[in-house]
Point group: C2
Chain length 261, copies 2
Amino acid sequence: MTLNKRLILVTNDDGITAPGIRSLIKVMRQLGMVVVAAPDKPQSGMGHAITVNLPLRYHLIAQEEDYTEYSINGTPVDCVKLAEKYLLPRRPDLIVSGINHGSNASINILYSGTMAAVLEGVMLDIPSIGFSLCDYVWEADFTPAEPWVEQITRKVLQEGLPRYTGLNINIPVPGSGGIKGIKVVRQGEGRWEEEFEHRVDPRRRDYFWITGHFKNYDGMPDTDLYALDHGYISVVPVHYDFTAHQAIPHIKNILEDAQEK
Amino acid sequence: MTLNKRLILVTNDDGITAPGIRSLIKVMRQLGMVVVAAPDKPQSGMGHAITVNLPLRYHLIAQEEDYTEYSINGTPVDCVKLAEKYLLPRRPDLIVSGINHGSNASINILYSGTMAAVLEGVMLDIPSIGFSLCDYVWEADFTPAEPWVEQITRKVLQEGLPRYTGLNINIPVPGSGGIKGIKVVRQGEGRWEEEFEHRVDPRRRDYFWITGHFKNYDGMPDTDLYALDHGYISVVPVHYDFTAHQAIPHIKNILEDAQEK
């Protein structure tokens, strides 16, 4: 099978108009048949949300040779579900999500619609990759990232991924020496040190904006945070098992034994 | 410190009017000072969403001795963040979320606002428990669950939980013999076999409802799905590390070695 027959589903969480998804589409069109199914408006911070109280609609935006583009009035996870079950001509060979405007390293994966789309693909046992650029600006320059996105995607199309495993890939803003390379690492420990900015509206009612800054609590070199800080692309293999396996014996002691008494 | 001085934050994702949270509040008021901070409307399926594009507002709903209740126009994660940073008099001793109307076992944890609130608490290093009843009906009977919720919560208040570890607790609808006991288990493998129900609106435009049924792909007895099927309460210790640690060496071979060539 030649590479250009591969079927690639592209989505994101910044919405179909975001520059980041245009960059990703450009790269993917060099690698196969591309179907885009992306939210019709920004869905940042939507996590693994799905739309259960509203009906979903899709709109065909573009149709060219080996290229189809749909917008959907839902979340990134809705987009993957609707595309996989309804819009795609067959099961895709790859799902890519992004390129996100802003880091999804460390705990940001929990809030990320970009990575939720990836985890949805992983649950469907489809190789899935999320790409994020560590630059929140809408006008961010995605061009230095593109050759890396292409190289990584090409490798994954060739080699596959372990079953039920996706990739969370974060790309640093290149320093003067450019991007240094790729590090395969674990999710680092970090936190948002949150603040709520308190304001009063013209009707004298209080309201709050979530704000805050991210803090790295994990200095270890085997983490995504360390790789990014040192100019490397971070690649974290991800799955969707939340079980804290090592805690099971202790919790058994507390809760299963309790009921014996 | 006596139990009744403990400060307990209560939230959910079905919204402040749901019968499930009333049941949880009733139990928690026997165990300590309670602050409720819950969404003002249903937030099922919201996953780990946060509200970044709208301002947050809270309303004081009730204030009694050792009891305060707020509704918030946000997601369950917003509720935990705003309560912890702004509404609570001090860091809480415990966060409880639920009782959810419907199972959050297996992969349902990904979509669950109830469990997202728990994971947010876990990230804040506060002992956090999510309770769900395996009955989606609004009028479900929560009373058989209540003594178990009380017993488990009391044990956790006494013994604590390992750091950065929460509990995903699902409670079966009791059979004729009642609830059989508690099993501490791992997250089972399951899938939503999704369908999209296609309809046409009065303006002749297509729309879709997400629907489907859950399928257990994991017959092993050490899973939440098995415990629930056999009449036991399932307790899964959870954390927020998405890293597929065992896949790191293989992905290193594919991607880090690639760049050396």
